[in-house]
């Protein structure tokens, strides 16, 4: 007796069976893809460990390929099923073949996309400066749904960074990222310039809840054990119940009422072994108890921003600083400094740890690979834009050439300087390491694959 006959006798039609099998299989696939936490979102997983499978290249062999987009790339690449996904400030999200660098599809939005996509259950999720949150079919780029937030905006303040005139509200030119979504248990979570942390049904885009903070949320939320963790530019770091959207605890970072330079969470948290690790623009790296929010330790960086999102593995925390351009490794339990290496320029990019190799982008247009244990530089790769050094943004040894960068002192210098900075192919993008290949974006508009 064949299967169809058996089913007919029990009153089941074959089509019902197929539908149920298909539904179960889809559900299983969805659960697997969300619970196994494939490395297809910002920082590699919902906990934001920043750890990537396999060993990173200890030597640079060659440029495998580079892929041109129409504007700068701030977004970080993610990989899923041998396809790379990333956003560009040209307004597109791209899917390209990881091996060849050939474009598979692109989908346009009406604003820059400095958000890192998350891929789960055959869908690609990301935010755009057009104020919408998008869900696309990962295979085709077809729009599945989009959700309109209260609108994007940059962090802003009067007299920001001492920029004149003091009474003018200035949008922060260094607020370069948009929140990157995290997907877990069929919900997608992300922050917005409207100050909310959103939880949407990953399949339909229906709003599950939103959690209001008092300022821009451009950090990427981490998800661990039913709790969503994220910092806001309102100087608070929040832990929110993933099911209800209710606040579990909040932690107060530093304030800077004078020039608003030393305030706000731009860094995204890593939540490992019951501890939240996050950088802050108040120049601290904080380790907080994930259950209570109580501070375990803080690492002071002497007024230098920590915009990188820490990577945490093997009991060590890896992060880098902006102005002081330092690469750090600290003990995860105590915060004690283990490695301190002087870099050449500001770092916003977050370190990717692959085996014993740490890879990080630098705003001088150089990608650096360091020994994860010692912090020693193994190799670096300089983009062409950095080599060209238009306008002498860099010194001959690739440090930022401050007198030419901030030449008009504290007039509108930081605004102008940011434009000048990115002319050397700055790497805001956090590297992805997969199968021994390093992928990253640059403000020169190219996505690079190095091996």
């Amino acid at each position: 007796m064949n299967l169809v006959m058996k089913l007919e006798r029990t009153g089941w039609r074959p089509i019902d069976y197929l539908v149920r099998v298909f539904t179960l299989a889809s559900l299983l696939m969805f659960c697997l893809s969300t619970s196994s936490h494939a490395q297809s979102m910002f920082r590699g997983d919902p906990a934001h460990s920043g750890v990537y499978a396999g060993e990173g290249p200890r030597q640079f062999h060659r440029l495998k390929w580079k892929f041109a987009t129409g504007n700068r790339i701030v977004s970080s690449p993610v990989i899923d099923n041998k396809k790379i996904y990333f956003g560009s400030d040209d307004g597109n999200v791209y899917s390209i073949d990881a091996e060849s660098g050939r474009e598979i599809w692109r989908r346009s939005t009406r604003g820059p996309v400095p958000s890192t996509p998350a891929v789960a259950a055959g869908m690609v999720y990301f935010t755009s400066y057009d104020g919408n949150f998008y869900a696309l079919n990962a295979e085709t780029g077809a729009l599945k749904w989009k959700f309109t937030t209260g609108g994007e905006r940059r962090f802003e303040a009067k007299g920001l960074h001492g920029i004149q005139p003091k009474n003018q509200t200035i949008a922060d030119p260094f607020d370069v990222y948009l929140s990157s979504p995290v997907v877990a248990d069929r919900i997608v979570y992300f922050g917005s310039g409207d100050g909310n942390l959103y939880a949407l049904d990953a399949a339909t885009g229906d709003l599950r809840w939103k959690f209001k903070t008092d300022d821009v949320v451009h950090a990427s939320p981490a998800f661990v054990n039913g709790v969503v963790f994220v910092g806001s530019w309102d100087s608070y770091f929040y832990a929110v119940d993933a099911k209800t959207g209710k606040e579990k605890w909040r932690f107060h970072g530093g304030e800077d009422p004078l020039i608003h330079n030393q305030v706000g969470f731009q860094s995204s948290p890593a939540v490992i072994d019951g501890t939240v690790y996050t950088g802050c623009r108040d120049a601290q790296v904080y380790a907080l108890d994930a259950t209570t929010g109580k501070e375990k330790w803080r690492f002071d960086n002497a007024l230098s921003w920590v915009n990188t999102s820490p990577a945490v593995t093997r009991g060590k925390v890896f992060f880098a600083t902006s102005d002081s351009s330092l690469y750090h490794m600290a003990d995860a339990a105590t915060g004690k400094s283990l490695v301190r290496q002087q870099g050449k320029a500001y770092m916003f990019s977050s370190p990717a740890i692959a085996g014993d190799v740490a890879i990080i982008g630098v705003l001088n247009g150089t990608l650096e690979a360091r020994d994860a244990n010692t912090g020693e530089l193994l190799w670096d790769y300089q983009t062409n834009a950095s080599k060209q050094n238009s306008g002498w943004v860099l010194t001959a040894d690739r440090r930022f050439n401050q007198p030419l960068l901030f030449f008009d002192n504290w007039g509108e210098a930081p605004i102008l300087a940011q434009d000048r900075q990115v002319s050397v192919g700055s790497i805001f993008s956090s590297p992805l390491v997969a199968n021994g290949v390093v992928y990253f974006g640059s403000t020169d508009g190219f996505l690079y694959a190095l091996e």
């Binding site: 001492g162 030393q262 002498w392 010194t395 440090r399 050439n401 901030f406």
Partner: protein
Amino acid sequence: MNGSGEMRLILLFVFASALICRAEDKARGRWEGAVQIPGRELEVVVDLAKADDGLWQGSIIIPGLNLAGTPLVDIAVQDSDASFGIKTGRGLEATFKGHFNADGTFSGDFIQAGNRASFTLKKIGAPQVEAPHRSTPVAKEIEGEWKGEYQIFGTPRHVTLKLTNGTEKSATAELVVVGRKVNNLPVDLVTQEGDLVTIESNQTGIGYEGRFNKEANEIKGTFMQGPVEVPLVLRKSK
């Protein structure tokens, strides 16, 4: 020495003087042109002249770098070559090394932060060298040590200012700020106009300006650190 020997000496002297005069004539003036930095042309105006003491002096204007009347340093003019430098409080150090050409231009290399680019300047008129700012003497009653405190980024800073009149009709100052560490700040300029006292440390971008009271035991003013301005009251140490 015979007559022909004397004549040779005179001729040599005249020739040397002529050479020196020609070098002087060549260099003296207002020069205008541009430095060809990759992707960015920097317009430059340079003024060069000899002071009464026979030393070269000069100033430079670079609108693209927010420099106006910045004094030139290390000026050297020899035959058909000249070099001079810029050293500003904001950390800009650069050198021009050039040659006076037959076509009346002055061209060569602009070197900054290890980078090198070519420049060409053309003389457009008489020099308009800007006199550098100089410190003034301060009133005797405000000479001495002053102390105060301000707070920035949540950390208190203790300030000690010591004003001393020097021998050359100008005051000097020692400025020490103690926060997380002790900072002895180099002071470039001390001026007093009426009851207004100004202190400038160009190298650090730090400054203070304030007015002292009739009793000359308190200065109320503003401490400036980069973009930050905070009130600072200094009191005379007893």
